[in-house]
Amino acid sequence: MKPAPFSYRRPGTLQLALESLAGEPDAKVLAGGQSLIPLLSMRLAAPSMLIDINALPDLDHVTTAADGVRVGALARHAAVLADQDAVRVQPLLAKALANVAHSTIRNRGTSVGSLVHADAAAELPVVLRLLGGSLDVASTRGRRTIAAEDLYVGLLETSLRHDEIAVEAFFPALALGEGVAFDEVARRHGDYAMCGVAALVQVDGDRVVRARAGYLSVSEVPTVIELTDAFSVAVDEESLAAAGEMALAGLDPQTDIHASADYRAQLVRVLTARVLRSAYDDARGRMLARVER
């Protein structure tokens, strides 16, 4: 099908974009279009106006500092994935982005657009939540920073207000003693996953100080669960299985056309154990590499 009619604006400055957005209650922002244009073509969305932000200057940056990575609203997934500094400072970015669609989609889709689109099956919202990152948004009223934990409020719904444009996301760096891992199960490589898990583990020697995992495609919103208590004694098969059960207690897997709730629950168990083990190994490996240097 084809999109319903809309008026189209392609502003050259952020200020003009914000003014157009503020003046048109049914307007939508167009970034990479890799989620929005399918919705328009299927007529699941019919905005009165599209405000194309692709001509805005200075928004395609991927800036890395010691504290983390700042990703501008026009940085494509592919540019973030290819940024050596960014993926060194926060390796979870590359691990997750490699699972976001196929390269042709990543060439156009933006990472910030994915954060704002808030698909429960998307990888980056979970990564932002797990790392405790944030999103900077602008409107004619000024700028504010939304913490990741306050960003996701419902199915495909964020706490952005209608007149706000997201300008930059912040992904915190990996801290000392931390390790990360990501894995997901999808029908076909590159498809949206039936279940995906990102993990962040902090160690002191071989002891786990903190363990958390983020889940995609299991609940309506990206969900992060504290799993530290499962590893108070050791990281072994028993504690990894316990972590899986602990995660399930905090999740409510749903049935859809792709997978039953039972099957999703099983994926949560299996992936939690696998990903926590590998994040633990990653953390230990990084500590050892530091000592050897």
């Binding site: 084809k2 008026s7 279009g33 890799q34 196929h102």
Partner: protein, 175 residues
Amino acid sequence: MSEELHEVRLVVNGATYDVTVPGRRLLSDALRHDLRLTGTHVGCEHGVCGSCTVLVDGTPMRSCLMLAVSAVDAEITTVEGLALADGSLSPVQQAFKDCHGLQCGFCTPGFLTTITAGIRDNPQPTREEAREMIAGNLCRCTGYQNIVKAVERAAELTSAPRRSSSVETPPGEHL
């Protein structure tokens, strides 16, 4: 109320086209209907099949997931723009011919554009990388094996462009 129209200048395969389109005109439709460049095929129209893939400033993108009005600052290459200046087949096109990489041909424009950029960025892909390169494109006929071989063949032809390619025996098990 009549629909708002936009004057848009598109640069496709080196030629400039001025068209008047509504904001909702997909780039794929602008190419096919307004420019009559029907080499770009439209299968699913929501980003999944890959048959509409074109190069935007050299980078593969789905033309069904772009608006024509949004393509104004870009140079677009469609399958019609892949052949060499003298009209002979490009290495990727030649490789598809050599390896029997197409049957009905519906998916082929998307594979050719994707692989053209893929080989440019990674001139010597491994088998695994060749498979990854085409992972976002669907083909209902070939079973993909000969397309993977065509990627490898295209890499070979590209690294030795002056040899007369069509008379050589193509590599591998496909004969």
